[in-house]
Symmetry: C2
Subunit: 405 residues, 2 copies
Amino acid sequence: MKSVTCTAPVNIAVIKYWGKRDTELILPTNDSLSVTLSQDILHSKTSIAASKEFTEDRLWLNGKEEDITKNRRMHNCFRETRALRAKMEQANADLEPLSTYKLHVCSENNFPTAAGLASSASGLAALVYTLAQLFELDISTSELTRIARQGSGSACRSLFGGFVAWQMGQEADGSDSLAVQVAPESHWPELEALICVVSDAKKGTSSTKGMQSTIETSPLMAERLRCVPGRMDAMKKAIHERDFQSFAELTMRDSNQFHAVCLDTYPPISYQTDTSRAIMALIHEYNNSSPDGKLKAAYTYDAGPNAVIYANKENMREIIQLVAHYFPGTIGTYFTDPYKVIGDAPLGQDFIPKAHSTFNENVIPVFPAGSVSRLLHTKVDDGPRVLANPDDSLLNAQGLPKRLA
Amino acid sequence: MKSVTCTAPVNIAVIKYWGKRDTELILPTNDSLSVTLSQDILHSKTSIAASKEFTEDRLWLNGKEEDITKNRRMHNCFRETRALRAKMEQANADLEPLSTYKLHVCSENNFPTAAGLASSASGLAALVYTLAQLFELDISTSELTRIARQGSGSACRSLFGGFVAWQMGQEADGSDSLAVQVAPESHWPELEALICVVSDAKKGTSSTKGMQSTIETSPLMAERLRCVPGRMDAMKKAIHERDFQSFAELTMRDSNQFHAVCLDTYPPISYQTDTSRAIMALIHEYNNSSPDGKLKAAYTYDAGPNAVIYANKENMREIIQLVAHYFPGTIGTYFTDPYKVIGDAPLGQDFIPKAHSTFNENVIPVFPAGSVSRLLHTKVDDGPRVLANPDDSLLNAQGLPKRLA
């Protein structure tokens, strides 16, 4: 039995992907660009074992066995990677015929799937990356992103660390629709993120359904598609120059435009709640009262109510204080903070940064405790990791899950 | 002393006005179209007295005296109507020189101004209409709308009953930017409206500031401006044919597109709350479960959280039952119902119409009592009215307010 275990990170787009021109191949209607967040905080972990003893492909997701044949998107990833392995085996008879073996796949997220934290992107990225390691595929990461894209569109962006662009491509077969690294995580290590998990998230429209409905019914979507190329260029420039001002404004504008075309969809799609919008208002007030007039934080929202706030490390402490004052937590569940930014400072004291003398304290009310259920403090970081220690595997020596739900 | 008292109605747009191409003359960036609602429920009332004894122009708004010289928009309306009167007096020496007299103006809304119910439109319409009556101006209503427009843009649409279009016009001096009646109230008397006043309305961005910010910063606004002419044609056709299906879909789409360009503004503008969006979801579920697949209700939202639901009379009873179930009122404040649609039926019983067998009862939760603070049931109705009975005047025989706040 051959077994490999890997983790893959979550990515949060700053130029949003919304709309497919081909739903089977998952080819998007526009380029997108994301930041890869640290696997120390959020990751999907996948173990895959191949053995000639196995009688069927089996899949366990978060401790529950699922019917692999019913998951067409995962199936696409199996088919594509096996085909590449089969070619290698044809060319080299010494290779073990792994492409003919059945596989056992076990995958887990280290965060609740229901939290709406881009789990499908990290999950499919972990699957495809682990398959590539298992089969020892001799292809570049960008070539691999073509396969991940067919599992879950935004998964292609989780195969790189740092700053990643998904080029929509032009070809009908999707051969040029792949992800490339714009800059590695080492380029801008000061960039950090604060994920505000908004509780009581109403179950919204799925991204898959929602984006097709936008393409079909939103008159404003055509204009968004004309906007994106210019925004991609400007965002790449901002990243290359570590220009937080441009990065922040573009990030907020693009998040808002994405939610605007959702609202222009018929029937309309609404992912943000009053809590989401209050966080937006808070960040604008924080920026507006910045002593030198410079933006210090930028929010972005995926297809859900959770805010992700990007900021430079030097400002993150005061941003956490500010958010924690207006959205008090419930004890024991609030922080995951490997950077110890908060230290021993009691939350709620001096929540307005001293330099922000024009800050309007009444911009939003203090929300009921738990309106934001968790704050996750993280940073830009690397791409998928191989875990060599067998103790890290989710599968035991028999190729079965160590833990079931 | 000569004195006149008039009332003017509220109008609620189904194709929204948002954006000025000239902020001084109040010339819009697109045509708009509204429905005039009954003055029996909502109106602004204005009394104006002219006397050579008066020493200065004076103004009382909702019982409080205000400095008329500081209200530039009202001042525009005074200047324009006085100029027309002066011309008449020059041509006919027998006319009383009212244009040289000082005026006392007293105006009240029969609803809280803070409720966000288009009070500036009805208020300025009442002012201009009363001035025209006082001065016995010999001009058409459409010519008068040009003056009302300079007081408050959407006020021009409150000078007609029924269905009213504000033509944006092309001229730089605004001479062709005026309102015309698309159809009188008698054309579609079955059309009714339910105003859902959403409480705890956060004080949002003013319309005046908000629309200019959209013009300056929203990339999607250009596409909206390209959309509106086609929507105006389709809406006029729907009204002429009393085609509720087209009327309803266009109304909801245009409301959503207006709020979409607000969200695409930088910084973003947000007028709707979770309660607003829940009402939208409820109306879509109600329409989706309609037994013959036909739309039975349409929502629209101005620059605030309150919903206005348009429906044909035959469906209004079940719509009120439905809304009242999910948004329970607090006793004594809920209904203003001159049409007695509810009768003696207890609210909350059989809230899902029997024919809607596929209605998903869990589409939204039941909201806390008072989330919708008032339901106002009204209908399409006539334009401004002259009140001939002196008892109806807000001014006494000395030209001073009968009541002060």
